[in-house]
């Protein structure tokens, strides 16, 4: 499947990756070659084959409903870039 510059711009926006035009162009090229390689998959007949999401056929283990995590706000916010009154700050969100 051929990749268009628009596809790369769209993916970059969905992934919130800032790209300038030069980079976008370069990625069209890189990504096209990767997808060409990946396209070998299309030749395989996979009809009736269940997708495999995990390598082991294991099932989810459940956790008891207990509060085990104490408040560590100050500790966790040491590594935060912008905090005030215990809140993480971001540029104003317009709703």
């Amino acid at each position: 499947m051929a990749l268009e510059p628009e596809d790369v711009r769209r993916a970059a926006h969905l992934a919130r990756l800032g790209l300038n035009d030069d980079e976008a162009e370069r990625y069209v090229d890189d990504l096209s070659r990767i997808l060409d390689m990946v396209d070998r998959l299309q030749a395989v007949d996979t009809q009736g084959i269940a997708p495999l999401a995990h390598p082991l056929d294991a099932t989810q283990r459940l956790r008891a409903d207990e509060v085990t995590e104490p408040n560590q706000r100050e500790h966790f916010q040491h590594c935060a870039p912008a905090v005030e009154n215990g809140l993480y700050l971001v540029p104003r969100v317009v709703e």
């Binding site: 912008a82 009154n85 700050l89 104003r92």
Partner: protein, 483 residues
Amino acid sequence: MQWEAVIGLEVHVQLATQSKIFSGASTAFGAEPNTQACAVDLGLPGVLPVLNEAAVAMAVQFGLGINAEIPETSIFDRKNYFYPDLPKGYQTSQMYHPIVGPGEVEISLEDGSTKRVRVHHAHLEEDAGKSLHEDFHGMTGIDLNRAGTPLLEIVSEPDMRSAKEAVAYIKALHSIVTYLGISDGNMAEGSMRCDVNVSVRPKGQETLGTRAEIKNVNSFRFVEKAIAYEIERQVELIEEGGKVVQETRLYDPEADETRSMRTKEEANDYRYFPCPDLLPVVLDQAYVDHLRDSLPELPSEKRARFESELGLSAYDASVLSSTRPMAEYFEAVKDSCGDAKLAANWVQGELAGQLNRENLDIADSPISATQLGGLIRRVIDETINGKAAKQVFMALWNGEGETADEVIEAKGLKQVTDTGAIEAMIDQVIADSPVQVAQYVEADEAKRGKMIGYFVGQVMKASRGTANPQQVNALLKQKLDQS
């Protein structure tokens, strides 16, 4: 033209677990910002989710409560999008294999009829945090305490045809989840949040009209008003030659209108895929059976039983089964006094009135079900008359005694049935009322019936309400007729 509205709802119910769906942080409401956001909730590098058993059990209980299919396997997916209150950049949800399959909810309409609303499915997901916009030098503050709180999203089929039906549906869900004890149902704290899909079409037309989604309507009243407004808006728009556009709208309670959300956002592409950090949830039959066996009686079953076994009217049965605290209170009163109809009358009459006046929930009633039952017992065995019963009720309400018997004793409200004592009081009243006696004697039989009321009143007053009114009546009639 006759128009018909088609309404479907997505209701997010916050499950009443102690800890979050994928972490051991507390879900308690109202804590200081970010004090209940642990490493997993914050999405720190390297952390992993582990599923809370209680969230699974509650979802399954809901499914069983609406007679839904419970698939053996359900799978968590990631819904990818960026938003500051979504720490990992994806919400863990269930897109393709939800925990609860198709089911049904019975709703009661105002005219006493019922209707079945189909539930398409219900799935588990994690809640996001909260954005706070006030007062951070033009910045937005993010509180992630709510992030990771378990939600059950219940998706209905578009089976409702009016705002009232939609409200009845939400009330029915509210009643089911609170009966099951899987949610506190507190809409003010966001424990139930509704997204409403509304479209209109000419009556009789098969195909659906274009729908608008109204996001985050958070009270029964607003749901009704928002839908009513939206139906009117769409009908007017079409009748004026316009077209409804598929969009997300917000309801503004102050203006009582819905408004299009200004979004420059292109159509979302959430890139759902199975969450590789969580494995398929497989529920064995024994587990589901165990949950089914421990299911409490649900509102519709209770309503039916109140009618058939207790002989209550459809209306009484419906009111008394509407919430679990109400039903539990009523049943405790009934068990204590042994008379369902009297219990129903007292709970819906005196008690409901007083609760209403003081704006209290039945769960916060100052009179316990046992106290009320004890009071009704004394009415049944004629220890007190109806008038005294109301006095005892108020005394208990005001905390002037532990039991009805204690109040009756302390206030001397025990009904006087001693004929001699009543006769003495009657003689006194007759002696004190020569004019009225004379009038009575002269009156014909028809008028006497009304005039006797005066004497009864006087005797009751003299007994401070404790005389047995039937006895007073009979004795008075005897004595006056002899005069």
